[in-house]
Symmetry: C2
Subunit: 428 residues, 2 copies
């Protein structure tokens, strides 16, 4: 089946080639990579070793890894990174499991990551169920499939004696999901001994290999708690209420006009507070998420938000009595992700596009919030990509999450993902 796919591919490639203008240097390199005997041997090695990929995916999925509790899975992953032959394998101070693939030298260091954590809390049943070629379990697709893919890729590269000019730092990182706030990759580029050496970054985390996430969606998240003295709804009527301050803040936010391009979003996601219907609350809270692809626009909506919270507090204290105390707002930053973009015209992404073209794909550039946000915001060429094609996984973040490991497609998808990594790692 692999052969027939490659035959088909080569035929198409020739047809396309003849119909188009002369190949660019990127196209030439891309073709060299996918035609290299060692690359083909690596894909063939994956095909032979396919069952191990599935087994490891199941094994890793069944090790719970809630946010801030990735340790068990990190230890298992570090052990596997050692088994597949990486050097300097360790768990770093933040909890990331990582190890080094030695290149032939002279290329910029590439880090390739997948994240260890899932959104699911402790106690979630993470046992994998099979339905035909589908594996079902919380976290199986997001991002355990990415973790298992990295192991399979390293193993196949070794088996086929693939060489790269660049060293590759393979990382199973912590803290990608919600509350983790990208802490694993933030550490990698912030305090880690590797921080100044990593010149390119790929995270294998996504829903379709048609998409390349080169835009870092910046976000700021707050939990705002409005406080006051509270009181009886009748006896203390006329006294300032945190609920009114909150309502006014939400109303003000709802009226903020933001540009469509670059896109800006804001959301009140969670509200809570109050003790009984007939008590003026002493505390109510809201969780607010703001995002933009533009750093400037994000800073702008952020400032507007902080100002309107302040206004709502001042207005509430002016509108009603404050005999027993004033209303205040406790504004807590609960998430911050930087924005930015790796331009499609950058050398790395031109090479990515050329490599995808050999697979008859045109990259759909996407902006999202991923571990790539951190390097992108630092100006380091970085993106997120998926190791599987569209509709091969679904229901991420839900208890009925699934991923499909049907072999023919899995092998084909492996070929593309490996080629992309090798092209960014300067395979000679």
């Amino acid at each position: 089946m692999l052969r027939s796919f490659f035959s088909l591919f080569c035929a198409c490639s020739l047809v396309l080639g003849s119909a188009r203008a002369a190949e660019s240097p990127d196209d030439v390199r891309a073709r060299q990579i996918v035609n290299a005997p060692s690359y083909k041997a690596a894909v063939a090695a994956f095909e032979r070793d396919y069952e191990r990929f599935v087994d490891e995916l199941i094994r890793l999925t069944e090790i719970p890894a809630p946010p801030f509790k990735e340790q068990l899975r990190a230890e298992a992953y570090a052990k596997l990174l050692r088994e597949v032959g990486l050097e300097q394998v360790e768990i770093d101070a933040e909890g990331n499991a990582l190890g080094l693939w030695r290149g032939t030298g002279g290329g910029p260091l590439l880090a390739v990551a997948a994240h260890l954590d899932t959104v699911f809390p402790e106690g979630t049943d993470v046992r994998v169920k099979r339905q035909g070629t589908r594996l079902l379990a919380p976290g199986v697709g997001d991002d355990t499939r990415g973790l298992a893919f990295l192991l399979a890729a390293i193993r196949a590269m070794r088996a086929a004696k693939v060489t790269t000019t660049s060293d590759i730092l393979f990382v199973g990182n912590v803290g990608e999901e919600g509350p983790g706030d990208l802490r694993g990759v933030r550490y990698l580029f912030g305090q880690s001994p590797w921080r100044d050496r990593i010149k390119r970054f790929i995270t294998v985390d996504g829903r379709s290999n048609d998409l390349i996430t080169n835009g870092a969606l910046g976000s700021k998240r707050y939990r705002v708690t409005f406080k006051g003295p509270g009181g009886h709804s009748w006896g203390a009527f006329g006294q300032a209420s945190p609920a009114f301050a909150l309502g006014n803040a939400i109303a003000k936010l709802s009226k903020v006009v933001v540009p469509k391009q670059p896109k800006v979003s804001y959301n009140v996601g969670v509200i809570s507070g109050g003790t009984s219907v007939n008590s003026i609350p002493f505390e109510v809270a809201m969780e607010v998420d703001m995002r933009s692809t533009s750093r400037e626009e994000l800073a702008k909506i952020d400032a507007q938000f902080l100002k309107l919270v302040e206004e709502a507090v001042v207005e509430e204290n002016a509108a009603r009595l404050t005999t027993f105390g004033k209303i205040s707002a406790d504004v807590k930053l609960i998430g911050e992700r930087p924005s930015g973009v790796t331009p499609p015209e950058s050398p790395v992404l031109r090479q990515v596009a050329a490599t995808m073209k050999t697979f008859e794909k045109v990259p759909v550039w996407e902006t999202s919030s991923t571990d790539a946000n951190i390097p992108i915001s630092l100006g380091i060429p970085a993106f997120a990509m998926a190791s599987q094609s569209a509709n091969r996984s679904g229901r991420a973040h839900s208890l009925d999450e699934w991923t499909d490991v049907e072999k023919t497609t899995a092998v084909k998808d492996f070929g593309l993902a490996l080629a992309l990594i090798l092209s960014v790692a300067d395979m000679p």
Copy 2:
């Protein structure tokens, strides 16, 4: 001690009497009652039997009676009503325990109630602790002390052969607190066989015998749930959000101007909803309480509230996209208590004031939400009173609720409360 108190009282009464205008017929009747040998004997009987009052208060307090779960306490109370010699003792269809005291005939039927229920949920530790003359336990003051007082009063009246013209229906009623929404007394005046016979009503429930609650504070309570399709905070940005509709409704409510006289109050007591900071909620809710001493004003704020909720929904659906569904509001009435007032000039309250005067007290007329709301709203002379003086109980609705049963004060307070009941029951 009782004697010295009464001596003091009589002396003062004479001084007051000589300094003032001629006594009114109400004053004369009041004096007749408190000077009647049978009344004095009843107070003396209470003093002799004081320990039983304390024991029954403890015993009743330790029978849990959460809202809608008053049955065990109702059964115990019905048994005690039988023991003290009432007739026609039963637990009615709503769960109220009641029994009849026979008068000499010809007077209007008086119902005297205390409520069985407490605010405390199942599982609350209701064991009574003693600290000197203080009894501490959830519910001990509100309103178990009222229940124990009624038993003590009936027993003392029997022991002293007190006669009343009116029959008195003694009631331990269910459903006074929050969610009960006055269901016990609502039944008594709505469906009960007694409903058309009760011409006067007293509930023994309050914090100080200086206060007479003759005003029925009407209230309406709603739980409003704003619903929508929800979505991702970034991907679905621009779609209508239930959180914005809620915020706008709260903001609108906060700007409603209400009269100071008759007083009107409104409150957003509890808010909740949403699943995560980066999801547009599919559901958020608020609980709102509105009150007024005036039926018309309550109807007005009620209508304004319902209108502004509707407006907030319409505006949110107009302000944003509704591609996947519109915002709606599910408005649920969770409480409704009628307003009204028994005028201080009414014969019953003139008699109450005159009786209090013999105890050197001037009634402080109060408006509140009590079981008396129901008869007051029906035009039946009714009020709530306390069976103890100020600062003899505290921390109602909290786990460290207490009541003080120091004997001298308890006997003195008993005397006033009994005199008030007898004056309304047309003691000859």
